[in-house]
């Protein structure tokens, strides 16, 4: 659970605690399909995914973004989160283990708050970076 992180105690270049999830199973994809409301069959139906030219089902980008959300809210309370962005740069597959990382790239004041920008990424154990993004977090 998130602990108190102070603006003055963090520096550009600091890494936030890593989150490792997985290996992701087909069952995980089925649960996320139902819970998220994203019923696109490319994530759960390998027949459909093959026909769509993907070879097999792919892990929801938004499931991995939810893992990045956990990375952030394990670090600071969620009500500190101001912006959260991600590009989906490669596909993850069942059996991949997803490692989520973040590094502080900027400290600034905005909206009357002390804020930091964190570069975040998700990568598979095969070495593919699947998500790349950033978050803005207000610190005390």
């Amino acid at each position: 659970m998130a602990t108190q992180v102070n603006y003055d105690d963090v520096n550009v270049g600091d890494e936030i605690p890593t989150l490792v999830v997985g290996p992701v199973t087909r069952h995980d994809l089925a649960l996320y399909c139902g819970a998220s409301g994203d019923h696109n069959p490319i994530h759960t139906d390998s027949d459909f995914a093959k026909k769509a030219g993907l070879g097999d089902v792919i892990v929801h980008g938004m499931l991995q973004m939810a893992y990045l959300g956990r990375l952030l809210t394990d670090w600071v309370p969620q009500d500190r989160l101001r912006e959260f962005n991600s590009r989906f740069t490669a596909m993850a597959r069942p059996h991949d283990t997803i490692t989520c990382t973040g590094k502080i790239t900027e400290k600034f004041e905005e909206g009357g708050e002390k804020r930091v920008r964190v570069e975040i990424a998700a990568a598979t154990d095969k070495g593919d970076t699947t998500l790349q993004g950033s978050a803005v977090v207000a610190l005390g």
């Binding site: 998220s36 696109n40 459909f48 959300g69 956990r70 989906f88």
Partner: protein, 147 residues
């Protein structure tokens, strides 16, 4: 080619209740371990009025609408060729179990790259709660693979 005349198209607003059971299911699906996301007592003990929706949930609930991929169909795209390219959230207010969230979406841009091999649909959505408070502005970019 996608129908670029749909830039600016506004989708019919939809309103959905944030169900506590759905949040429990969502927390399980994403492996969330912080009980404020699935246990009302824990959420209240932490000072929240109810179970707290995780950061991406507000972008997911809109998928409950009858055609969640209408941004693809309305511009003439093929869903089997569609992938999620980019997602953004700007947060203004928390979302809790019991909230009713109204989604107001529009097509912000349609463009292509690599000589039309990739086409992009950018959608922007305001997520507004039952008090008329903007909770988040959600941006989504869908990629259509034509190659």
């Amino acid at each position: 080619m996608l129908d670029k005349s749909k830039i600016g198209h506004e989708f019919e607003p939809v309103t959905f209740r944030v169900d506590e059971g759905r949040l429990r299911f969502f927390a399980k699906a994403i492996g969330e371990t912080n009980p404020i996301h699935f246990d009302e007592a824990a959420a209240k003990a932490a000072g929240h009025p109810g179970v707290v929706a995780p950061p991406t949930f507000v972008g997911c609930l809109e998928m409950d609408k009858p055609d969640p991929f209408e941004m693809v169909s309305v511009v003439g795209g093929d869903l089997s060729k569609a992938l999620h390219g980019n997602q953004t959230f700007v947060y203004h207010h928390p979302v809790y179990a019991g909230d009713h969230i109204t989604y107001k979406s529009r097509i912000k841009n349609i463009y292509d790259k690599k000589g039309g091999a990739l086409e992009f649909i950018d959608v922007e959505t305001d997520a507004i709660n039952q008090d008329g408070t903007l909770t988040a502005v959600i941006g989504q970019s869908v990629v259509i693979r034509n190659s």
